[in-house]
Amino acid sequence: MQENQQTICTAFLCKTDSSSSEDYNRRLLIKLQTPTSLEKCDAFTMSFVEYSDVIQDGDVAIVYLGIDSTMPIKVQKGAQTQTRYGVIRHSTDLIGQRYGSKVTCSKGGWVHVLHPTPELWTVSLPHRTQILYTTDIATITMMLELKPGSVVCESGTGSGSLSHAILRTIAPTGHLHTVEFHQQRAEKVAEEFKEHRVDHLVTVRNQDVCKDGFGVTGVADAVFLDIPSPWEAVRHAKTALKRQGGRVCSFSPCIEQVQKTCQALMDQGFEELSSVEVLLRVHDVRVVSMPLPDFGPDPSAPPGPDSRGEAPNHASIALKTTTPPREIPGHTGYLTFATKPRT
């Protein structure tokens, strides 16, 4: 593909089984970025919803420096990126290399360059707001029953952490309607969706969901709320959801918010309410050495040159175990799920 040409022009279709009725909705989605002339595109180019093998100019790649240390990079011919191990030169070190390659930087240290995934993006993205982390995201994805083809409404978009994960799961035939009331954040996240080649799957609306809703009605399989006053948006969630029913989730850090939201959900006729919290515990694998105590020579031990041997003096036992980190995130927020019955 030529430079400056945007997204892949790909359409995914499902081969339907003509002998039985379809259980899942399928839609043909074509987003033509350059309607006048379509170049033949590489079938496999990087995007957050499609793997590719080789790093190309214009890709967004993730540089892995070490545990809990990652950095996103916009790959550009001729550009350089500074890391603590030295400089990475995009043209020589990145473009044309396989994703997963080791790159030695100018100071001699090295890094790995990884294909972007929503999970890597979540830990590398520039925060504009507090974000949702993978643990909550995974729970939300399963409990909202998201899958390819799902139509999802989300507010607030924030920094787009959850949005990217949703897009990955609903691709290639689903759609995300995301609402963000802060103008700059809305613009920034729309820009990122374009750069990450997922913009054909998402519509960003800069409005207040509590007043104006999601901008669509009766189409969503699932609605997600992460806003200060979710109870004010519950009726809009109900409107956005399909008439035949759907799932809703609200994320709130404070229990008072949860109580108000549950009340609003019940008032609006939602069922199967369930509030949970999920916490991640990390176990750091370590070998620890524990010295043996010296109780003095043991007179009752059977005599023999090798039996007791050198045991007491400088012996210790090496133990392979895990230790928890000193501090762990103890709370992110409460997740409240509910089902909208058929209306």
Binding site: I30, S37, Q76, V87, S91, L114, V276, T322, P341
Partner: protein, 495 residues
């Protein structure tokens, strides 16, 4: 009321559908079959009357085990201002406050009283009910509802529902994998449509089914080569320019892949087109390049399963042949020849069928090999009772670089060993050993608190990403085209 049948047809229960029965927190997966008595929560019921109804409908169980759709609830229970007390200081729990005996209640049940009515009877005959606080009354009613309401809801299966079902009913079958842990696996593994995922599990097929649900079945990838073609495609949606995109390869130990859990999802046929299976006893041969799929030298596995099948088939055959020989031994030459000819013909046909089956098997194996031999899988999910270190070291080679893997184990120590092995072996980064802590809350006005019981453990996960194992190119190599001191700092992301 009168729904447009077509619009809702995919939301209606049909014969043969895989469904999940639900009452409260109890789930049970089942298939809709006419005239078949099934047991659910100690009751025998017929599912016949559910056909044609909408999913998520709740049914009352009436006499004879038949189901009747519930009438929509009237908002009666909540709004009545009930007489209530303020605390329990004067309530003595002597077990005598309920005037109805067990037999009385049985009689009421036999008379066909509905759950709601029985509960009302219990309330009326309780001497302490009106002394309870409002909250205690609510709790009492909830408890009785759980015991006496005779309903069942028919749900469409999903990963969420089946994972909760297995965890509640038969955790041993799924290595005690809790549903939130399964959720983490699917996300950490970046399971999505269009990817190639390897699954090794002994969780009754639940993990396999969940992966398949997130893959969405068969997709065809198109690359548009001209606007004209684009118009063509819009008119004819099934015009593929590239073929098959997205697959799941189930690696299985032992005789055959276990799929009961996967079948419970009730996937449409095209989902199965993306599913392959590969016996792990051939992994080493495949990696060494010595695996033969043409059938010239049948593998031991094939021979063994063929032998077993032959035994089954030879039994009735032998009996048949025996009977025929017992017949009139009068050698009417033509009759005997006709008999013999028939037996011969049957034998030949049996041979043909056997050969056809063997051929099909070989083709399936070859298809799986085709998926694996490129060593370019996009994800690896392991959840089994087998020792994880050995499993992952055997299967990691099939993954492309920069792809995620997730290993589940009920036991942390097994994953500690796995972690160590992976570190020694190299080729992986971002390897983390984690588990999740899940807590449910009761949210009611003035009664909000975590639930009293919580899950003790949901298993552990080891996750990471593969990297290339070949050596890196040093960046110091002097490239003249580079503009001299042009530095691009990504201000937002550094630091």
């Amino acid at each position: 009321m009168a729904d447009n049948g077509d619009e809702d047809s995919e939301y209606r229960i049909k014969v043969g559908d895989c469904v999940v029965l639900k009452r409260g927190d109890i789930f049970k997966a089942m298939q809709i079959q006419l005239g078949k008595k099934v047991i659910f929560e100690k009751q025998w019921i017929f599912l016949d009357k559910t056909v044609g109804q909408l999913y998520s409908t709740t049914f009352d169980i009436v006499s004879g085990g038949n189901l009747l759709p519930q009438k929509p609830k009237n908002a009666d229970d909540a709004s009545d201002a009930k007489e209530a007390g303020t605390d329990n200081r004067n309530i003595v729990d002597d077990g005598k406050s309920q005037k109805l005996t067990r037999d009385d209640i049985e009689t009421l049940k036999e008379q066909g009283l509905k759950g709601q009515e029985i509960i009302q009877q219990l309330i009326d005959n309780s001497s302490t009910f009106r002394d309870k606080t409002e909250y205690a009354q609510d709790k009492y009613i909830k408890k009785k509802k759980k015991k006496y309401e005779n309903t069942v809801t028919i749900l469409k299966p999903s990963c969420r529902i089946l994972a909760m079902m297995y965890h509640g009913r038969e955790p041993g079958k799924i290595c005690h994998l809790r549903y939130d842990t399964l959720a983490q696996m699917l996300t950490l593994g970046n399971v999505h449509a269009g990817s190639k995922v390897l699954v090794f599990e002994t969780c009754a097929g639940l993990v396999l089914g969940s992966v398949m649900e997130r893959m969405g079945g068969k997709f065809v990838l198109l690359t548009l080569q001209s606007l004209a073609v684009a118009h063509c495609i819009i008119k004819q949606p099934l015009f593929p320019l590239h073929s098959g995109h997205g697959s799941v390869v189930q690696m299985y130990p032992g005789g055959g892949p276990v799929r009961a859990g996967m079948e419970s999802f009730g996937f449409p046929a095209h989902f199965h087109d993306t599913l392959h299976e590969f016996p792990i006893c051939h992994v080493n041969a495949l990696l060494a390049g010595t695996l033969d799929t043409t059938g010239k030298h049948s593998s031991a596995v094939e021979k063994q399963s063929d032998k077993d099948k032959e035994k089954e088939q030879n039994q009735p055959e032998a009996e048949q042949a025996g009977e025929q020989q017992d017949g009139p031994e009068d050698p009417n030459m033509e009759t005997v020849t006709a008999e013999e000819a028939r037996v011969e013909k049957e034998k030949k046909e049996k041979e043909k069928r056997k050969e056809a089956k063997a051929q099909e098997k070989r083709m399936k194996l070859a298809a799986a090999v085709a998926q694996l031999e490129g060593r370019n899988a996009d994800g690896l999910i392991i959840a089994s009772r087998f020792h994880p270190s050995s499993v992952v070291m055997g299967l990691l080679k099939f993954l492309a670089p920069s792809r995620p893997f997730v290993i589940y184990s009920q036991y942390k120590e097994a994953l500690i060993e796995c972690f160590t092995k992976l570190k020694e072996h190299g080729g992986t980064v971002n390897v983390r050993l984690t588990d999740t802590w899940l807590r449910h809350y009761q949210v009611l006005p003035n009664r909000t608190h975590p639930l009293l019981l919580m899950s003790g453990g949901g298993g552990y996960l080891l996750s990471g990403t593969t990297v290339a194992t070949d050596t890196a190119k040093p960046s110091g190599s002097q490239r003249v085209e580079e503009p001299a001191a042009k530095r691009q700092k990504l201000t937002d992301t550094e630091g």
